[in-house]
């Protein structure tokens, strides 16, 4: 479903050129759960930004469901983002002025669903992440783990086929991180493709496939990861 061929991304400032991705090639199939690890600054977030069409690529091709993304205009990209992709962020990125219900409502509004349909979906997602009782709470009234689950509910509300998560557990303690991972695994089991960037090898290990990024390219990765993957297999 995701197909990147020799994708490069170069950031230019007045003084420096940073090659965040270099001829990065990757194919992800429907239903996969891919973890992405790598040193800081290696290009993991850049890869997610491009995969999620939040950024343009400098060179190469990126096809999502067989469609060449570079040919889409802003409106079409926004539509694809809205319908096919869900994002989960390290710092949750909930809107503080909106309550839980309205936060999850945001992508559904841009989708153009009617009020009943939005309500149905929001309630369903909240139920799935176990936060139905917190519907009228504001983000500041929730714990970090609860906030991240609201963010996951928001990502799921549009029933995307593709979930992109950048360090979803980076701001959570181990227990909460585990429960978020359980939730992601469950979501993946129900058919949603997930790509998750993480620093923690134990969490990466729970994915079905591990990718190691170094200097903007996929590399073989550190041996521990392979051992871990082999051990769990």
């Amino acid at each position: 479903m995701l197909n990147m061929k020799k994708v490069s991304k170069t950031y230019r400032t007045d003084t420096v050129e940073t090659h965040a991705l270099r001829e990065f090639s990757l194919t992800v199939d429907e239903g996969e759960f891919v973890s992405v690890t790598g040193p800081s600054g290696s290009g993991k977030t850049t890869f997610l930004n491009i995969a999620g069409m939040l950024e343009e690529l400098t060179a190469g091709t990126y096809e999502l469901d067989g469609r060449d993304i570079s040919k889409l205009n802003d409106k079409e990209r926004s539509k694809v983002r809205n319908e096919k992709i869900g994002f989960i962020f390290q710092s949750f990125n909930l809107i503080p002025e909106l309550d839980v219900f309205d936060n999850i409502d945001v992508p559904l509004r841009y989708r153009g669903f009617n009020a009943d349909e939005r309500k149905r979906r929001i309630e369903k997602c909240l139920d799935r992440v176990g936060l139905t009782s917190r519907m009228k709470h504001y983000p500041a009234q929730l714990s970090g783990g609860q906030q991240q689950r609201v963010a996951i509910a928001r990502a799921l509300a549009g029933e995307p086929r593709f979930l992109l998560a950048d360090e979803p557990t980076g701001n959570l303690d181990t227990n909460m991180a585990d429960s978020v991972l359980d939730l992601l695994a469950e979501i993946n089991d129900s058919g949603t493709t997930i790509i998750m960037v993480t620093h923690e090898l134990t969490l990466a290990d729970r994915a079905k496939r591990n990718i190691f990024v170094r200097d903007g390219q996929i590399s073989d990765g550190p041996p521990e990861l392979h051992f871990a993957a082999a051990a769990s297999a």
Binding site: D74, S78, K79, R81, N82, F87, Y110, G158
Partner: protein
């Protein structure tokens, strides 16, 4: 979606109450400054007989001093003498004609302890009401025969009828002025010629007179003018008779001519009249007659003085400064909201969706600014009333021109939207990628 944007707008406005209040205040002050001057100018430059502008003509003849024009470079006097007024009126060569002046009278209301009061009365001729489309509530004006017969009749304004008769139909009843009885033949409905185009000699905004009576009657009663009166040579003798026979100018004359050719004919008639008078030893200057439409006459009399135009450009400049301020404040707001914008982009909002969202928010600020601007306009007009003496701008604004209020809000919305364009564009160009970067 529109309602969703309204909700987001009000959330955002409430999330930054200080910033929002500053914006509303900036717009309100700018709008207030502009609209108060615009109102003043509007009131000053209005033409109450615009619909008859090409039919009505103000008459001027140059009977002035041979060595010194009435006004430089060579303007004829703005009024006419009694001799000419009556001669031209009697000739009746125009479709309609009226001669008039105002005079102070003392009105004695009915009732034991009613106190007398002084009032300006317009002494005029029958055609006055028809020429200027003066609206009647009860009865009508008098006719030409009443002018000839010097009938003791009056027409009252709605306000005067209210004051004297409690607003009842008073036609046929009597009233007393300077101890003499007058029979009421007509009562006007609301009539506010602003400016008072037919007599601009004193305050053009004092409003129309409240009482009208035949010119001939006023003359036989030896009424003096309470308006302007100018003479360029001493009277031949003393008394009212000598005054009527003098070259003093104190009467306003208007004619109604229904076509361009009629106008040309009348002009010819005036020229012939002056030539004829020259033969009798009057009119020592060159023939210099004028027929001016109400609009031309108001420009000639500089009803809208230059101060107002200067004030208007200053006010517009002020509005621009206020809008620049608004642009700055809106930009500050957008800057503070980059993470929100970027997140919405990531969740599927297109640029056009964000553009709409932010313009609607700006529009809401604009409406608030416009409404507050009406308050500011009111304050501004209060202030201007002090500058421009006793003109009643506020009551004009309240009673006559709700469209001005509408304009104030419209101007506020349009200018706020204009001010919002750049900040909104900036909002739309926030990259959705920043969401993942700011962590």
């Amino acid at each position: 979606m529109f309602r969703y944007y309204l909700k987001l707008g009000s959330l955002s406005i409430r999330a930054n109450p200080a910033l929002s209040a500053l914006m509303v205040a900036a717009i309100a002050i700018g709008i207030g400054a502009c609209m108060s001057i615009v109102t003043v100018r509007h009131v000053m430059s209005g033409n109450p007989v615009a619909h008859k502008n090409d039919l009505l003509y103000h008459v001027q003849l140059d009977n002035w001093n041979p060595d010194d024009p009435y006004e430089d470079p060579n303007e004829p006097p703005e009024q006419v003498t009694y001799l000419d007024a009556t001669a031209l009126h009697q000739a009746g060569r125009a479709f309609r004609q009226t001669i008039s002046f105002k005079s102070d009278r003392v009105v004695q209301p009915e009732g034991e302890d009613a106190r007398p009061f002084q009032e300006e009365v317009r002494a005029t001729t029958a055609d006055f009401f028809a020429m200027f489309d003066v609206p009647f509530e009860y009865g009508s004006g008098w006719d030409a025969s009443a002018d000839r017969a010097e009938e003791r009749v009056v027409v009252l304004s709605a306000a005067m009828n209210q004051r004297l008769f409690g607003g009842e139909d008073s036609v046929g009843r009597m009233m007393t002025m300077n101890k003499e009885p007058y029979r009421i033949v007509g009562v006007l409905s609301e009539w506010r010629p602003m400016p008072k185009f037919y007599d601009l000699n004193n305050n053009p905004y004092e409003g129309a007179e409240e009482i009208y009576t035949p010119f001939s009657l006023a003359i036989s009663g030896e009424w003096g003018s309470s308006g302007n009166n100018s003479c360029w040579k001493p009277l031949d003798g003393a008394g009212y008779e000598a005054y009527l026979a003098s070259e003093c100018i104190w009467i306003q004359m208007w004619v109604e001519l229904s076509s361009a050719s009629e106008r040309d004919n009348y002009m010819q008639f005036l020229d012939d009249y002056v030539e004829q008078q020259k033969a009798l030893g009057r009119f020592p200057r060159e023939v210099n007659n004028r027929l001016s439409t109400p609009a031309e006459w108001m420009v000639n009399r500089e009803v809208v003085d230059d101060t107002v135009n200067v004030l208007l450009s200053l006010a517009v400049l002020f509005l621009v400064v206020c809008l620049l301020n608004t642009i700055g404040l809106l930009l500050a707001k957008v800057m503070r909201r980059t993470s929100d914008i970027s997140l919405r982009r990531a969740l599927g909002a297109s640029k056009s969706a964000l553009f709409t969202q932010y313009l609607i928010e700006a529009g809401m600020v604009g409406i608030a600014g416009g409404l507050a601007g009406i308050g500011m306009t009111w304050l501004g007009l209060r202030g201007l009333e002090n500058v421009f003496s006793e003109y009643d701008f506020i009551s004009y604004l309240m009673t006559m021109d709700w469209t001005m209020v509408l304009y104030a809000v419209l101007l506020a919305i349009v200018s706020t939207l204009a001010a919002a364009l750049y900040p909104t564009w900036r909002a739309c160009s926030v990259s959705p990628a920043t969401t993942l970067r700011i962590q």
